[in-house]
């Protein structure tokens, strides 16, 4: 399987070709129950424990539409500036695969619930790209297959396969862009920014966990290249298994360089589904799609059409939260941030966390500093998203308050945060258990200072002789003796006092 793939230098790709993107994002809704039955949707349950006759597709079972899912779909459509269909239907997408209980997926075809929208995407340097949204439609998720044995981890060649239908029937919204053209060398960046913006939007709508690592947000990236001034789009590939924002960017960029090399060499692009390899940042070919598969769509006869009343749609429009872009603008003003500071905040994925920390009583500057620097580092070290760190905005706010009232130094505060991250409880509990309170009791400090001076009589002598700089050694000794819990400034004052300064 290891063949060398020719890649073209990225600058050469851009000089010769225009990339065209099409992004399909699947969002798992965070409804309590599945799309067409009452089974729970919780992630991570024992395999095949969240199933019933309907989501297992048992003979005779029938679907019933989850109203909350429809509501979420409409809200997503509205947030994406889409038209909401006055009347639409579900359709059956027919194909055989073991993880699909009915061997058809109940989806929407030519009558999506939302269509013709757009989403403005802000790139790192502030450039705004408007991405046209073709449609957002409702469907159900499939089960999960685990193919054991074989070289590829795919069904072909596997020794056996394990199937978990807990996910089968979980509500999905598929959001499809129109072809994104004219982005040139920034195409990979635009792809990433689009998914990131969409993720923030969905999060603000509170309709999904939008966890790419858990598959509740999945992106399929369609990429094609056309020679400059070519009249038609080139042949596209569709890359799946793109499980992080970074991967979106890498996958698009890789496909551009791979396709360009092929085309430049007189080759042609195979219309196919490709699989992104996280480790190497490459894509590998898979299912061929030379003619698009015939899914034999037809209207789902087990469900009645959905006709959202205009009243309902308008009511839902009033439930839309402040959109992330508008909110950022407001926050920038309220917190007096420079563009650069705002960008760091956004890139760190910290806007919501900082806002929540501010809501919990902290100052914006302190909250921002904690989340963007120290906590971002911790998240990096652990390879998790900032929001996944086991610390809440409220806990960070408490730490900030303890520093503000002098109970903690900044150094101690970091230790408290470490303790919270290590699962040792609330900040105050960590302070108690680790004994991290600043030692401000002078009598305790006098004892430590006297001890240190006695231990280093030569240094004490120097200080008494006016060599004040020598006090540093004693400060160090006291800090060591008090395990860093003393206020170094006060220690210094006491040393000088003791030495008759």
């Amino acid at each position: 399987m290891t063949t060398t793939v020719a890649l073209m230098d990225y600058a050469d790709v851009i000089a010769r070709f225009d990339p065209v993107l099409g992004l399909e994002v699947h969002v798992e809704l965070s409804t309590n129950t599945k799309m067409f039955c009452g089974c729970p949707t919780v992630f991570g349950g024992e395999p095949n424990t969240q199933v019933c006759p309907t989501c297992l597709g048992l003979p005779g079972s029938l679907p019933v539409v989850n109203e909350i899912a429809v509501e979420s779909a409409i809200r997503i459509g509205l947030a994406l500036n889409c038209e909401i269909a006055e009347w639409c239907r579900f359709a059956r997408k027919n194909y055989f695969y073991p993880d699909m209980p009915k061997n058809f997926q109940t989806s929407q075809y030519d009558e999506p619930i939302a269509f013709d929208g757009w989403l403005d995407v802000t790139l790192d340097d502030g450039e705004v790209v408007r991405v046209q949204v073709e449609r957002a439609h409702m469907e159900e998720d499939t089960g999960k297959s685990l193919h054991v044995g074989g070289a590829t981890g795919r069904i072909h060649g596997a020794d056996y396969s394990l199937l978990d239908y807990n996910r089968a029937g979980v509500p999905l919204i598929e959001i499809v862009t129109k072809p994104i053209t004219g982005t040139g060398e920034r195409a990979p960046e635009v792809a990433r920014a689009y998914v990131a913006t969409l993720r923030d939007l969905l999060k603000a709508l509170d309709v999904s966990d939008v966890r790419m690592d858990q598959g509740s947000l999945r992106c399929d990236a369609n990429v094609s290249l056309m020679e400059k001034d070519a009249p038609e789009f080139g042949t596209r590939t569709e890359t799946k298994n793109v499980n992080s924002l970074r991967s979106v960017e890498r996958a698009v960029r890789y496909e551009m360089t791979r396709q360009a090399a092929l085309l430049a060499d007189g080759g042609s692009i195979l219309q196919e589904t490709r699989h992104f390899e996280e480790a190497s940042g490459t894509t590998r070919g898979g299912r061929r799609k030379e003619t698009s598969e015939d899914y034999r769509y037809f209207p789902e006869p087990d469900l009645v059409p959905i006709a959202p009343s205009r009243d309902w749609v308008e009511r839902l429009r009033t439930t839309l939260p402040e959109m992330p872009a508008a909110r950022r603008k407001r926050i920038q003003e309220e917190w007096s941030l420079t563009d650069l500071e705002l960008r760091d905040l956004v890139n760190a994925g910290a806007v919501d966390l900082v806002a929540a920390t501010v809501d919990a009583g902290a100052s914006a500057a302190e909250a921002r500093s904690w989340w963007v620097s120290y906590l971002s580092q911790q998240a990096n070290n652990r390879s998790v998203e900032l929001g996944e760190l086991p610390i809440t905005a409220g806990q960070v706010a408490r730490v900030i308050a303890l520093v503000a009232d002098g109970s903690l130094t900044n150094k101690l505060a970091r230790e408290v945060v470490d303790g919270v991250l290590a699962g040792e409880g609330e900040p105050d509990e960590v302070v108690d258990r680790r004994g991290l309170k600043v030692v401000s009791d002078d009598s305790a400090l006098y004892a430590a200072v006297d001890e240190a001076l006695a231990a280093q009589p030569d240094v004490a002598e120097k200080i008494r002789d006016g060599k004040v700089a020598a006090a540093g050694a004693i400060v160090g000794a006291v800090m060591k003796a008090t395990k860093g819990q003393a206020d170094a400034k006060r220690v210094r004052e006491l040393i000088l006092e003791r030495c008759g300064g």
């Binding site: 003979p59 005779g60 029938l62 009915k102 006869p301 087990d302």
Partner: protein, 504 residues
């Protein structure tokens, strides 16, 4: 034969409540009858003896304790078509692919029957996945027509209809996608009703064609069918296509009709359903029935429904299309038959081998027809056009029901044909549903009531009465009035003329 098995359901229920007979005795009498004749008739695929007796006992306990009857049919035995899920009993749909499969849940119809104290004797034979008009497509052998054991009992619900005509059960449930309740009713001299689409829940009814399938009552009298109708009908939140409306007052209509007066009722005779292809004895019986309706006071007019001629071809695009998708789930992965799983073959190969071995020829034919009709490039010409025909048929009905209260026709163009006669001629087989299909496509109500024996072969003929959607009671009223007049004219109930079966 115990006299108990000759009684109709309303009578049995009354006697049980009056403590003249126990529900257990009634059930046992029918179980005995099944034991005696079903080796010959083969109406049942599964007899649920123990649970039937348990259910009967529960009714007797209610009676003994003086509790009011849970329904007007409490304690009455019933034969359930094997296409409806019944927890703890096999539900095969007449297919090898589901042989031995036991659903972990009850269909809504099954649940309603149990809650009404109806005693489910067992599951009845049918054409595989309800595809057929003779029950010859069952993977488990043909059912014989008690009127002539060399003839078919109709289909797909031949088992349910034959069980009634053989006095193995006074009530049965069928399902009607293109005529599978009415045509078996017609050829066995029993009453079969297809209610308005959406009025009887499809939850637990193994789908053949979702937009057409409808479960309904089968009985030996119009009143019994109406009583059963009211037990099984009603809105069900588990079926999205279920209509949230009151059940039409069919029992009251049957009782009203039985007074024998149809004054003011306008009856339309569908002119398209006559002539070539109609057995003379069937046409004669039908015309006599129409004459009788006129005598009862009905106003008879001829009504043309030109689109009805397109119903059969449209049906054979829509039903197979939906079936090709509905039957995709039988793939050996989760339940049912599994063929060729030797540890070497791929899932895809096992799916393919299982479907090749598990489905019969007619099911395969329809899966292929439907797959083709839905294919890219053919969809508009086939499935799309068929849906347009469906709209035309609805308009014909609408226009007709603007002029008349009910429409009538023969239920099926011929009497029961001989077993094997049409197995190699699908088109001839399909024509058995010529007159019944329009009501499936339009979704309205239709029933078949026996209208005498054909003069040429002495076999039962069915009168089809079609009513607008949710006006099911109109058909019941006309059928009940006709039933009384028919029996009066012929000196007794038609069903009593069924030949005695040899008891083994």
């Amino acid at each position: 034969m115990s006299e108990l098995t000759r009684l109709d359901a309303a009578d049995l229920a009354a006697r049980i409540q009056a403590r003249e007979v126990s529900a257990v005795e009634v059930t046992q009498a029918h179980l005995d009858r099944i034991a005696a004749v079903d080796a010959t008739v083969h109406a049942f695929l599964h007899v649920d003896t123990e649970r039937a007796l348990d259910a009967a006992k529960a009714v007797d306990d209610d009676v003994a304790a003086g509790r009011p009857a849970v329904s007007p049919l409490a304690g009455v035995p019933l034969a359930l078509k094997d296409v409806l899920a019944m927890q703890g009993a096999p539900t095969t749909c007449g297919s090898k692919v589901l042989e031995h499969w036991q659903p972990p849940y009850d269909a809504t119809v099954t649940r309603r029957l149990r809650e009404a104290g109806v005693v489910i004797l067992g599951k009845t034979n049918m054409d595989e996945f309800a595809m057929g008009s003779s029950t010859e497509n069952s993977a488990f052998g043909v059912t014989r027509n008690p009127w002539d054991l060399d003839r078919i009992p109709g289909g797909s619900g031949g088992g349910s209809a034959a069980a009634l005509a053989a006095f193995e059960a006074p009530l049965a449930i069928g399902t009607d996608t293109g005529g599978s309740i009415r045509q078996p009713g017609a050829v066995t001299g029993t009453v079969g009703v297809k209610p308005t689409y959406g009025t009887v829940s499809r939850f637990g009814l193994v789908a053949f064609s979702s937009s057409l399938d409808q479960a309904g009552p089968c009985a030996r009298t119009v009143l019994d069918a109406a009583l059963l109708h009211e037990v099984i009908a009603g809105h069900d939140p588990l079926d999205s296509t279920s209509i949230d409306a009151p059940v039409p007052p069919v029992v009251a209509a049957a009782r009203e009709g039985a007074t024998g007066d149809l004054t003011g009722v306008r009856v339309g005779v569908v002119t398209e359903f006559a002539g070539d292809g109609y057995q003379p004895g069937v046409s004669a019986a039908f015309e006599a029935a129409v004459a009788q309706l006129r005598e009862l006071g009905a106003e008879i007019v001829e009504v043309s429904c030109p689109s009805f001629d397109l119903a059969l071809p449209a049906y054979y695009l829509i039903a197979p299309s939906e079936a090709s998708s509905n039957l995709a789930r039988f793939d050996a992965m989760r339940y049912g038959l599994r063929v060729g799983d030797d540890g070497e073959r791929s899932a895809e190969e096992v799916m393919s081998l299982t479907r090749a071995a598990g489905f019969g020829a007619e099911v395969k034919r329809r899966i292929m027809l439907g797959t083709y009709a839905l294919s890219a490039g053919y969809y508009d010409a086939y499935y799309g056009s068929a849906q347009k025909v469906r709209t035309l048929i609805m308009r014909d009905f609408e226009a007709a029901f603007g002029r008349v209260d009910v429409l009538v026709s023969p239920t099926t163009p011929t009497t029961a044909f001989r077993i094997g006669e049409r197995v190699d001629d699908p088109m001839a087989m399909y024509r058995a549903d010529l007159c019944t299909i329009p009501s499936n496509l339009a979704g309205n109500a239709a029933l078949s009531v026996p209208c005498g024996l054909s003069g040429d072969d002495g076999l039962p003929v069915g009168l089809q009465i079609m009513s607008p959607a949710l006006q099911d009671h109109r058909g019941y009223r006309v059928a009940a009035a006709y039933e009384v007049a028919r029996d009066a004219a012929q000196g007794g109930s038609l069903i009593t003329r069924v030949p005695e079966l040899e008891v083994v």
